[in-house]
């Protein structure tokens, strides 16, 4: 296995007419990692995935996927790619098993091998009971799992998943996370998009945060939290007494709605100071998360 990057993008830009959906982004995905694109709706995540999966041509910049350029060698790239699209597009004319076999045919996989692989994959995503069931009889979570299975029919080196767990219940999300880790352990590289911060934090080795078509930051979840927020956060209910008390104690804080946030290296010390001097009514301490990074970088105001 070579250690050359699996995906390399520089100045990657996509414009739909006058809308610039992705603006000069640069990132590198390494062999064997789970790499995340985190960002709100409209950030440009799907557009980026579509360029990587050779479905949408880029407007400018350079892009190499698995050593090839999507503009010139799409079939060679797509043969080694597993794609979970944002929009569910299973074939309603086939059963679960039929969907996998039909999809395998698009990769020129022989019928016998395809049928065997389809059964294996149904077991992998725990859908063996639904083998001969029509697509419209599946729940949302089952459909997402089946799409994951479909993305694996060609035993891909690189998996691209666009919002793989969107709209799923906790059990279904956990199953998908667990399966993705298993796939990573098998040596596959995984790229996923999500707007769930906890998902990104749990799953990704490295990630980028996107907003408005640009990449704001890149790093591992822990690194980003440390770099942009700090270690721990104390939240206190906002009232005049607390505010003046914090100012007197010289503690830097931020007002977020009806709460006041203090970022600190030691939540214990801040909490003690507050308890002793300010008599707060409600207070909690917690570790800083990606959510804090995100809100800090992208701002708290609701977009759109």
């Amino acid at each position: 296995m070579s250690l050359s990057p699996v995906i390399e993008a520089a100045g990657l830009t996509k414009a739909y007419g006058t809308t610039v959906a992705v603006q000069a982004i640069r990132f590198t995905v390494r062999q064997g990692e789970i790499f995340g694109f985190l960002g709100p709706n409209g950030a440009g995540k799907t557009t980026t995935m579509k360029m990587i999966t050779c479905v949408s041509p880029r407007t400018s910049g350079t892009l190499r996927v698995l050593g090839h350029d999507p503009a010139t060698a799409p079939a060679a790239i797509k043969a080694r790619l597993g794609v979970v699209p944002q929009e569910t597009n299973l074939d309603p004319d086939f059963t679960c098993h039929g969907n996998l076999v039909t999809y395998a045919r698009y990769f020129d996989i022989p019928q016998d091998a395809a049928e065997k692989k389809a059964d294996e994959l149904l077991a992998f995503v725990q859908l063996q009971d639904k083998r001969d069931v029509a697509i419209d009889k599946l729940s949302g979570g089952m459909k997402r799992r089946l799409i994951l299975a479909r993305a694996l029919v060609n035993d891909p080196d690189l998996l691209i998943l666009d919002e793989p767990t969107i709209g799923l219940d906790p059990q279904a999300r956990h199953l998908i996370w667990e399966r993705l880790r298993l796939l990573q352990a098998q040596g596959k590289t995984v790229v996923l998009t999500t707007h769930y911060l906890d998902e990104a934090a749990r799953l990704c080795d490295r990630l980028v945060i996107m907003d408005n078509g640009s990449i704001l930051v890149e790093g591992s979840p822990a690194e980003l939290v440390k770099r942009f927020v700090g270690e721990e956060i104390v939240e206190v209910e906002r009232n005049d007494e607390v505010l003046s008390c914090l100012e007197k104690a010289g503690i830097v804080f931020e007002i977020t709605g009806d709460m006041v946030q203090v970022v600190t290296g030691s939540a214990r010390d801040v909490a003690r100071t507050l308890f002793e001097n300010c008599r707060p009514r409600k207070m909690l301490t917690r570790p800083a998360t990606l959510e804090d990074v995100f809100l800090k970088l992208a701002g708290r105001a609701l977009k759109e």
């Binding site: 739909y16 999966t53 479905v55 949408s56 041509p57 799409p74 079939a75 797509k78 043969a79 790619l81 794609v83 699209p85 929009e87 597009n89 299973l90 074939d91 309603p92 004319d93 086939f94 039909t102 999809y103 045919r105 698009y106 990769f107 020129d108 060609n154």
Partner: protein
């Protein structure tokens, strides 16, 4: 604009994988698919052939039912391919998102659309293959010359598949596909030398039919085969259809590319 519409698409043999998908779905419902051609042949022959034919007697020395038999074949070729590649393809493209799923695999959009066109033509061939025995049973076609109807069904099928696909590529929605169906297909069914010779009408109808109505040429070659009564004009008919088919296959693929690749 015209240059891109006529750019030669890079189609690979993977297009057959798309064709194969449609075949499997079709075969699974073969009972539903088998009877329409059977019954249609029956209805046309009895109602128009025997019913109206009783009054008409013969046209150009040919019994009326024998005169319309090849037209029934040609109309079926047109309808199967045209409707498969308009309503059928549109549903697969827009509602089922099948094309989106396919182009995430090594299939290109060119492969997908060409596979759909091949499938449309295959529907025509199957329709004709089922109708031929019925026509033979009515003793209104002569064998073995009429077997030529099968390769002709493929050519005509590709032609009408490509015509249909051009409309599919530009239609804003499923309902607007009714326009070409009513304004183009229906008049063509009547004015292409199908149920009466064009020479009965003022000459301008004949010119329009020969220049603009693809069905005219398909009816002509089908009729030469089933009677059989070949003349050299078959070469003109075949050339006209071949050129239109090639050009429209290319144009339809490029229009679809423009629609789907953003």
């Amino acid at each position: 604009m015209i240059r891109t519409a006529l750019q030669f698409p890079r189609v690979t043999r993977r297009a057959w994988n798309v064709w194969h998908r449609n075949l499997i779905v079709f075969v699974r419902t073969w009972k539903v698919n088998f009877f329409p051609p059977f019954i249609e042949a029956f209805l046309y022959l009895s109602a128009i052939g025997l019913g109206i034919g009783a009054y008409v007697g013969s046209i150009e020395g040919i019994p009326y039912i024998t005169y319309i038999a090849p037209a029934i074949l040609a109309i079926s070729v047109m309808n199967s391919a045209f409707f498969e590649c308009t309503y059928g393809s549109y549903v697969r493209m827009y509602y089922q998102k099948s094309f989106d799923a396919m182009i995430a695999t090594p299939l290109s959009i060119e492969d997908v659309i060409f596979g759909e066109l091949l499938w449309g033509a295959t529907r025509s061939v199957m329709y004709v293959a089922i109708m031929l025995p019925v026509l033979a049973a009515f003793n209104v076609i002569s064998l073995p010359a009429s077997l030529l109807a099968i390769p002709l069904a493929f050519l005509g099928g590709m032609m009408f598949a490509a015509i249909g696909m051009c409309f599919t590529a530009i239609t804003p929605g499923l309902e607007t596909l009714n326009y070409p169906a009513y304004l183009f297909i229906t008049p063509m069914t009547l004015f292409s030398g199908t149920f009466f010779p064009l020479t009965l009408l003022p000459p301008v109808f004949g010119y329009i039919a020969v220049i603009f109505l693809p069905l005219t040429h398909l009816v002509a070659v089908m009729r030469m085969s089933t009677l059989p009564a070949f003349s050299l004009s078959i070469l003109l008919n075949l050339a006209w259809m071949a050129i239109i088919t090639i050009v429209l296959c290319i144009v339809s693929i490029n229009l679809m590319k423009r629609r789907l690749i953003v």
